[in-house]
């Protein structure tokens, strides 16, 4: 851990806020992506069944 001196609060909070926000948007994107992939796979399976059946 580097010595941050009297500005430790500002520096640490900046890194904390940034990482939290970035993690937020990354996780949100991943979650939306996964959900959409599942939903699409389900409907596509149904669609191909309909064609085969």
């Amino acid at each position: 851990m580097p010595e941050l001196g009297k500005y430790a609060f500002a520096v640490l909070t900046s890194y904390g806020v940034t990482i939290a926000l970035l993690a937020g948007v990354v996780l949100l994107s991943l979650w939306q992506g996964a959900r959409m992939r599942r939903a699409l796979a389900e409907v596509e399976a149904r669609a191909s069944e309909a064609v085969d059946g």
Partner: protein, 243 residues
């Protein structure tokens, strides 16, 4: 072989599926190296002390916040002119990422300003412009969400993006004018106009900037893929309903 081939959703899905892991890898590499370097292995600035470490977050985020809007403007124009769906969806996918970068730039700016300028918030031209930029992002995203028909939404948001760009530029100069006009503000320290940057800060900063660029690319690719899937899903569902 031209760039317009990527306007075909299928082609885009193939290429992006190939590119996404690479871009993600580069993101992790650059951001990891840059941030660890910036946080642990940079000296304190003689004037600003350890707060100089905030620069490695603040500057790239601010750059990409503006670049993301420019990218949305370009993709919106491509949609209006050539009507490639992937382009419109990419603009839609980029907006929340750009908003996040804007918020990061604002938050880190406030945290940096508190010890340096003695205030969390100054109505400094740059800060004010970014606040306005955040409002533009919010309005853009809200309009996408409010319109049900996807093509209508793409058209309307494109028009908004073009008009918004003009007004964002205007606001930028208006805000500069406004603050220089009457209230001289001595607390302003312009980020871009510092004394030449020491290599010890410059090198990790460049790595971080590349990290943010790759992060933006990776997120836009990922989110555009999601949007394309969403489009296909709604097409399949409506076909099922017809059958």
């Amino acid at each position: 072989m031209s760039i317009w081939e990527y306007a075909n959703p299928k082609k885009f899905m193939q290429t992006s599926a190939w590119a996404l892991p690479w871009v993600t890898g580069l993101t992790v590499l650059c951001l990891g190296v840059g941030l660890v370097w910036g946080f642990f292995f940079t000296p304190d600035d003689y004037k600003q002390g350890s707060t100089v470490k905030i620069m490695f977050l603040h500057v790239p985020a601010a750059m990409m916040a503006i670049n993301a809007w420019v990218m949305m403007l370009v993709t919106s124009l491509i949609w209006v002119i050539r009507r490639h769906h992937v382009s419109a969806l990419a603009a839609k996918a980029a907006a929340p990422v750009g908003l996040t970068f804007t918020l990061i730039a604002l938050a880190t700016g406030a945290l940096w300003g508190q010890p340096m300028w003695g205030t969390w918030w100054a109505w400094d031209p740059r800060l004010t412009s970014f606040l306005i930029l955040a409002l533009f992002y919010l309005g853009y995203i809200a309009l996408w969400n409010a319109v049900e028909n996807p093509d209508t939404a793409a058209d309307l948001t494109s028009v908004l993006c073009v008009v918004g760009s003009v007004f964002a530029l205007l606001s930028r100069y208006a805000v500069k004018f406004w603050n220089q006009g009457l209230h001289q503000d001595s607390t302003i320290l312009k980020v871009g106009e510092k004394d030449p940057l020491d290599p010890a800060f410059y090198q990790p900063l460049v790595v971080c900037i590349f990290g943010f660029i790759f992060l933006f690319l990776a997120l836009v690719l990922l989110r555009t893929r999601t949007e394309i899937r969403a489009r296909r899903l709604s097409a399949l569902v409506s076909r099922e309903r017809l059958a």
